[in-house]
């Protein structure tokens, strides 16, 4: 099948989630005997390297009207690319950009959409894709019956491939509408690593007793190159910003390592983090429900244990 991957970028660089989507799209093309192509709106620095993820051709469109992500404008451009490329499967990352555009494009192309996909499509009998449901507590196989299929792949669900292919960059001309959405300001999140894309997440809860005690959590996160997260009560009490709240009503994440400090592990919290590959729990209450969902645990006081973890990590990394 002909595959088209939407390449998202921020601050001049391709998002890691889009490299995952590119690798995923290339695998679909390989499985179904088609070609993997991609589209980028704008000019991030690293587009030449998309060949490594198996992208053979990259349609690139640059235009002044693309400053704001206006899903109406983007959708109409992507429709023109799909028509030109004859794409049958369109892959987005299910990040905030993908969430804004993919549903619109699905309607415009009368394409079935799987949002939150976590595995490659099964094409042995029709076209079904596995996605998370019930906030990661279960999964569903979604059968797509339309001619064109759209998949929004959850971040951290598919490994980035590093091959040695090359990509051909093809400038693309399209009709670009004037945006109706005007950006008047922006703020960057405090963390250096985006929460949904982070390999390691260090998270803390009410067990830390107050916002002034986050320094050691920040130090551990820095040391591990991790993103910071928190539980809902912590965000509700404004100890930490809302965009760090992970859980059923916050952000759902799937890092390789999730370290939970002073979080009891209510079912709503677990729903947002249970796709983490390895979970480490530090809690002084041995009965905390989180231990049942954890891979490794320490029953102990966070204020004693966390500094020890920091020292041990420094030692193993050779930082004294």
């Amino acid at each position: 099948m002909q595959v088209l991957v939407f390449i998202d970028h921020v601050d001049g660089h391709i998002k890691k989630a889009s490299l995952e989507a590119a690798s995923y799209g290339a695998k679909i093309a390989e499985q179904t005997g088609g070609t993997a192509e991609a589209v980028v709106l704008g000019n991030p620095a690293d587009i030449d390297s998309l060949g490594k993820q198996g992208i053979k051709k990259l349609y690139q469109l640059q235009h002044d009207n693309l400053q704001a992500i206006d899903s109406q404008v983007y959708t109409k451009i992507l429709e023109q690319v799909v028509q030109k490329a004859g794409s049958q499967v369109i892959v987005f990352s299910n990040n905030s950009t993908g969430k804004a555009i993919a549903p619109r494009l699905a309607v415009r192309l009368q394409a079935g959409l799987v949002s939150g996909a976590v595995a490659l499509p099964d094409t042995s009998n029709g076209f079904t894709v596995r996605k998370n449901v019930f906030s990661g507590k279960a999964f569903a196989q979604v059968s797509v019956t339309s001619d064109i299929k759209i998949i929004a792949l959850n971040p951290n669900s598919f490994s980035i491939t590093e091959g040695d292919g090359a990509t051909e960059i093809v400038p693309f001309e399209a009709t670009v509408d004037a945006p109706k959405i005007k950006v008047t300001g922006s703020t960057k999140t405090s963390g250096k690593v985006a929460l949904t894309e982070a390999d390691v997440v260090v998270s803390a809860g009410r067990g830390l007793k107050g916002p002034e005690n986050w320094k050691m959590v920040e130090e551990l996160a820095d040391l591990l190159g991790a993103a910071l997260a928190c539980s809902r009560p912590v965000a509700d009490a404004n100890w930490r910003p809302h965009n760090e709240h992970v859980g059923q009503t916050g952000i759902a994440i799937a890092p390789n390592l999730y370290i939970a400090i002073g979080i009891s592990g209510a079912i709503q919290h677990l729903a947002g983090v249970n796709r983490s590959k390895v979970i480490v729990v530090v809690n002084k209450d041995a009965e905390a429900p989180f231990f049942k969902a954890a891979d490794y645990g320490i029953v102990g006081d966070a204020f004693e244990v966390v500094p020890k973890i920091i020292d041990a990590v420094k030692k193993i990394k050779g930082i004294s």
Partner: protein, 247 residues
């Protein structure tokens, strides 16, 4: 201003997740149903706050669902919706739901359409964008703040790497998430008033899904926690380094 808030019925956040009929259906036995938290806490409450500032506003609620959805519709009316429309069909997938909602939205001529960022059961987050495309109006996803001044909306939204503030003219569709408003509890007066507020039932239009969940499953259970003594934290880091190969 005429506001439409799209509301869904979802299992309670603590509901046991299981499946029946050969894993093709969610097991509803014993499940407590609630108003989808994103629809309630953020979309609906923000609509109510806007109406409190501009009393000439009206809030219509719309739900795609059977009679079993009426308790959550009444709750939304108790919180502060003025009237409700129930489209009488069991929801199956975002595309057919959006198609049903679009019919109501077209007839109502709304200035502002609010949805939650996703439902907590199927986690699609697709209805808002699909509806906006069907209506051919702008869509601002994952909003954390919304101000209305005349016919201009100022919206703060989540983007990759942070948040941005955007300005857009009404009519628009917005999907709301945490930050947008504070959860409220319906008061007795609201609950009493909700009983007599209009709840109109309309029949669905004919539409076929393009993508549909055909089978469900549960992830494999964890092997069990490996506990490390707080006096031997180095052992934990060693395990993460050598066994899990993460650090």
């Amino acid at each position: 201003m005429k506001i439409l808030v799209c509301i869904s019925k979802t299992p309670d956040t603590t509901a046991k997740i299981a499946f029946t009929d050969n894993n093709t259906k969610f097991a509803e036995a014993g499940v407590q149903w609630i108003l989808n938290p994103y629809d309630e806490w953020y979309a609906l409450v923000r609509a109510i706050e806007l109406k409190e500032k501009d009393a000439s506003s009206v809030i219509h609620l719309v739900n795609v669902g059977g009679t079993d959805a009426e308790p959550i519709i009444r709750k939304a009316l108790a919180l502060g919706g003025d009237e409700a429309i129930r489209i009488n069909v069991t929801p199956t997938d975002p595309f057919t739901v959006a198609t049903q909602l679009a019919e109501v939205a077209k007839q109502g001529g709304y200035d502002l359409i609010l949805t939650g960022k996703e439902t907590i059961d199927y986690n699609n987050g697709s209805v808002g964008g699909m509806l906006a495309e069907m209506l051919d109006i702008p869509y601002v996803a994952l909003a954390t703040n919304l101000q209305i001044d005349g016919t201009t909306a100022t919206v703060k939204r989540e983007i990759e790497g942070g948040e941005e503030t955007v300005e857009v003219s009404l009519p628009i569709v917005i999907s709301a998430q945490k930050g947008m408003a504070e959860a409220r509890i319906p008061n007795m007066r609201g609950i009493m008033a909700a009983r007599s507020k209009p709840l109109k039932v309309v029949e669905p239009v004919q539409v076929e899904p393009l993508a549909k969940a055909v089978e469900f499953g549960l992830p494999p259970a964890k092997a069990g926690v490996k506990l490390v003594s707080p006096d031997n934290v180095e052992e934990l880091v060693r395990l993460l380094h050598e066994e899990a190969r993460i650090i």
